[in-house]
């Protein structure tokens, strides 16, 4: 119980600080006291509303993913670039050689945010769109046979898993709780 409260408080504090940083970046007035006061007020209000709406959990403040996700994004940007070229070639080639495929891959991620990250990464790389996420199955529509490369997509899934597993150790317990619900 105490641990739960501490985790909530920690998330609250981190969310408020992050919102304050976003406020400063958006506002750009670092020297106007009124605006800074309003910023603190706004950040606290937003964090409180997030708590009040009952969505202050690991998905809204993914503390644990933080360090790993940036490297993952770097890798993802390169992937996005590569697959964009393939799709662009298809668009500009006078005789399109499409062969759309529907494939299924398994999402082995434990947390919801991990699964969502995986599905979003699949969608972000053009040529593959995650059509459906049901349980542990992701249904993918791929533009050509080359793009419907299950092993490459599963490799991406393993990368997401690795990002996820560098995070907190108590995920296992959360998965058990979530499994029943």
């Amino acid at each position: 119980m105490v641990k739960f409260l501490i985790s909530i408080a920690g998330r609250f504090i981190v969310l408020s600080l992050a919102l304050m940083v976003i406020w400063l970046l958006l506002s750009g007035y670092f020297d106007k006291t009124t605006l800074l006061v309003f910023g603190v007020f706004s950040a606290l209000l937003c964090a409180w509303l997030t708590l009040h709406m009952g969505i202050l959990d690991d998905d809204s403040v993914p503390l644990s993913v933080m360090p790993g996700i940036f490297f993952y994004w770097l890798w993802l940007f390169i992937e996005i670039g590569k697959s964009n070229f393939i799709v662009a070639m298809q668009v500009w080639s006078p005789k399109m050689s499409l062969s759309p495929q529907m494939i299924r891959v398994k999402a082995h991620q434990i947390s919801d945010s991990g699964k969502a990250t995986y599905a979003n990464s699949i969608t972000l790389t053009p040529g593959t769109v995650s059509v459906d996420l049901l349980g542990e199955d992701i249904l993918i529509h791929a533009l050509t046979e080359d793009l419907a490369d299950v092993s490459a997509i599963e490799d991406m899934g393993r990368k997401v898993c690795r990002v996820e597993s560098t995070m907190h150790p108590n995920l296992k317990t959360k998965a058990k709780e979530g499994g029943g619900a």
Binding site: V87, V91, V131, L139
Partner: protein, 139 residues
């Protein structure tokens, strides 16, 4: 002197980024027009959403002249697009799939009838599929 060379480098780099971004934006739009069915058009729209938008935004970042607030705002827009655009695409695809729009599959792009196979248990696939056909097959 050094700064000048740097400036002109940044200028040309952003010129290149703008050109490439414009190319990909137009590519995405053209794909949206040319591709044969909804599910393939989705991929074309993804080209605009990801690389086209990102390249143009990076070009703007280089043009921001080291104004940190502008760069931060552009990065926030880029991050926001990165989070929302795949969700929009996924939602549209999911709605089409659940609504029973059948994709064209295979090399010969023949019409499949696999669409709502996900929920035989939950709802009546025949009704949904019929509805989707009715909506999808006007042209």
């Amino acid at each position: 002197m050094m700064g000048e060379r740097m400036d002109s480098f940044i200028h040309y780099a952003s010129l290149f980024l703008f050109a490439a971004g414009s190319f990909f934006v137009i590519t995405g739009a053209l794909g949206l027009l040319r591709f044969p069915d909804f599910y393939t058009r989705m991929h074309a729209s993804g080209v605009t959403d990801t690389l086209g938008a990102d390249l143009i935004l990076w070009g703007m970042i280089l043009q921001a002249d080291g104004d940190w607030l502008l760069i931060a705002k552009l990065l926030i827009i880029m991050l926001f697009l990165m989070f929302t655009s795949p969700v929009s695409t996924h939602s549209i695809a999911h709605a089409a799939w659940v609504g029973g729009l059948n994709p064209l599959l295979g090399k010969d792009l023949k019409h499949s009838d696999i669409a709502p196979d996900r929920d035989e248990t939950k709802s009546a696939p025949e009704a949904q599929s019929a509805d989707g056909q009715h909506e999808g097959g006007t042209e």
